[in-house]
Symmetry: C2
Subunit: 457 residues, 2 copies
């Protein structure tokens, strides 16, 4: 009666080697968040479905993982409802809770529930898994981590500046060369006004967002299909194809959007943000990209997206300014701006480019070989001293063949092996073997400590 175990599709186990890399990613991002004054919160994995439903569109509702009420979950359901077999209706009776779908809605809920305790502006970050019942495919999982940093309660564009700096800092630390693309919802609105199709702004931005992938002809075809007039398309094309430096693009936009109040506000915002980031000489380029839209019904000001320059990968980070984060929970007037890092994609890019630092790989510094009771006792005391100095060491627990113990050290990528046989025991010393060079040195415990510290820092 044994079952051959497996895990649900779209989910993953992470091995020690993978965890070390993932922690490197999370710790790097977390470090930057801290350096910019963001504070961590965590919210429960489960939220009430009333909190989640209706926040991600109809499609999103279907992708929520719902948790069945415990106990007699069908007690209060009528026969008629049961036999209706209506999945949405029955799910609403059987389930009160669902798994977190993103970090933004729980954050909004958090802000509303804890508003009395919060000092605004509130700079929070959150690194937690989210769940989506998406069809699993390469690079798309049903459980994955999001790493979000948001500021709520401040309209200042300095927040946008600092978020840009954070994007730059994170990818500089990873050694990933990126383009930080920026746009502004207000500019997009201005453009839609200018071409006389203000009411079609969503269709327009959805279409031009695809320019990179499908080319201008297909974009134009899609626009025509959505009922955008040929005149409007003709006016739009030169704008979204604008070439040149950020300054040149903004100059041209100032001319084009001169009559659109909202459009000019967007231009001014971009000028301000780019003016400052220029002076801060970031490592990566911030590039005005007028086709960037990213879930437009959500963003109201700046929009960000990051692409790796030398890797095959979609966007690895993104974000923007949104108004009224908490309005849906009855608390109006709070503007927010934030960015989100895609840990799984960054993981793949770092692998593709071979950018993991070497020291990320080894966790244990020294394996003590086990030659029996007396020798182990000596080893344990030496190990106690080394651990107190913060060095990671272990002893092979069983007194078995040397060869087996050495291959354990190899498999675990342990750089040093400490050998304490009868002779070493008599001298009260340790034979320290460097697994890379094969060199051996007979050392006191103090000397081993000094040697390891020297080679570590």
């Amino acid at each position: 009666m044994t079952t051959k175990p497996n895990i649900p599709k779209g989910t993953r186990d992470f091995s020690p080697a993978e965890m070390v890399k993932r922690n490197y990613i999370f710790n790097t991002i977390r470090g930057v968040f801290h350096r910019f004054g963001f504070q961590q919160i965590e919210t429960p994995s489960m939220e009430n479905l009333s909190t989640l439903m209706g926040k991600y569109g109809e499609e999103g509702d279907k992708l929520l993982f719902k948790i069945q009420n415990s106990g007699d979950f069908c007690r209060d359901v009528t026969d008629e409802d049961l036999l209706s077999r209506n999945p949405l209706k029955l799910a609403s009776k059987f389930c009160e809770k669902g798994l977190r779908y993103d970090l933004t809605v729980p954050f909004a809920r958090y802000v509303v529930m804890h508003r009395e305790e919060l000092t605004l502006p509130f700079k929070r970050y959150q690194i937690q898994p989210v769940w989506r019942a998406d069809r699993p495919q390469k690079g798309r999982y049903r459980e994955f981590y999001q790493c979000d940093a948001d500021v709520v309660g401040s309209d200042s564009l300095l927040n946008e500046v600092e978020l840009t700096q954070m994007l730059d800092a994170v990818f500089s630390q990873f050694g990933i060369r990126v383009a930080i693309k920026m746009n502004n919802r207000k500019i997009l609105s201005g453009i839609a006004e200018f071409i006389g199709e203000a009411d079609k702004i969503i269709d327009i931005t959805v279409a031009i967002d695809k320019l990179d992938k499908i080319g201008i002809d297909n974009v134009n075809a899609e626009l025509a299909e959505k009922g955008v007039t040929p005149e409007a398309i003709a006016k739009l094309q030169p704008i979204i194809m604008l070439q040149g430096s950020n300054t040149e693009k903004l100059q041209e936009l100032s001319r084009i959007l001169a009559d659109s109040e909202i459009g000019m506000r967007g231009v001014t915002e971009c000028q301000y943000i780019l003016g400052i980031t220029d002076q801060l000489s970031l490592n990566n380029m911030v590039e005005l990209d007028l086709t960037l839209a990213r879930g437009l019904n959500y963003y109201t000001g700046a929009i960000f997206e990051v692409k790796a320059l030398n890797a095959q990968m979609g966007s690895i980070s993104g974000g923007g300014r949104y108004d009224n984060l908490t309005g849906v929970f009855g608390m109006g007037g709070l503007s927010g701006v934030g960015i989100s890092f895609g840990a799984d994609r960054i993981y793949d890019v770092l692998n593709q480019l071979g950018l993991y630092p070497a020291e990320v790989a080894d966790t244990t510094k020294i394996l003590f070989v086990n030659f029996g009771e007396k020798e182990s006792m000596f080893a344990l005391k030496a190990m106690q001293q080394l651990r107190q100095a913060g060095i990671n060491v272990e002893i092979y627990p069983d007194c078995t063949k040397m060869k087996k113990q050495m291959s354990y050290a190899n498999a675990k990528n342990i750089p040093y092996v400490a050998i304490i046989g009868e002779e070493e025991l008599n001298q009260g010393k340790i034979m320290l073997k460097d697994m890379n060079t094969g060199q051996q040195q007979l050392l006191t415990t103090d000397e081993v400590l000094a040697q390891i510290l020297r080679n570590t820092y």
Copy 2:
């Protein structure tokens, strides 16, 4: 149409102040795990119900959170089954997945699924949340973290020794004085043999495990109720009430259990473990406690439990040796031994005893006051330099009243405020105010950096 948001009962939000403390706990535990050569893995939050069901007893099955299949979950269910309203049966049709109930079963599943990649002994740790549909009450949550370290694939008692050292190291670092209680399932079996009630071992251990709480008379009453003979009870009582040092208890047990092979093996194991831990002079006492049982059907050798000496709290850590971790998944012969830390209880104990280090509280070191565009620009450049040196700094994003900005610094517990007004700007300097002493110093950015580093390390 706004909803007043709430979170599911038994779950919690963690504020920045709580997260800082929780991270301190997790990082301390993680550090000790690393120092002893344990490697981290993570498993999915959801497991197939076939992996989870039947592993935690009938009661446990009921406490599993089940996830409803997405899409048309009742398509293949007959009318008859629907109308049966049998929750267990219907749940098995509606749900294929459930949330992780502990870290042990997923770990066993992991070992079986990845056995080809693993080098044994495998020393893994795992720090992840688990979910139980328990009735929420004070100190009992439906989502909580477990921190487990286990070694599988080694029978050596050195593992037990090292786990004892780890318990000692973790609580020493926290500054919590504890008693590390140890027992051995083999001794308990020997005792049951000795009193002539070998087949009642579970009833016996369940009863004596309560000695602390209910006293000897009630223990004896419970034993009698379970059909243990008066003679057996009379023989048992002096054993479980044994006083004296570990050595004295073990000497007495050697005498009493001389005829029980399994009992004597347990005594020898304890002697070995205690013999070594004595020589390693731990900070906390390891104490042989013959009433300790902890889920006996599970453990097969050493059993551990940790209690804080100066706090009102149940056990804050525990563990033991178990055989055949993976047998239920068709992979026999693997013994394991592990410990688990209760992060929530440790959190409460550290609060009760006021043991959080002061530096845990502050995250941002300097708040730069915002006096306008030119001043901010100067601030941003100084901040860039400070951040490159690893210092956490932030600027108040809005140019608003000084008082508001200062109370933000206070609320966030930021120890320094940097003031750059017109005069400072002209001099290219920063007025650094120590928020504790009120002292102000006019410094260059380099001097600010040096000052902060001096006071931090």
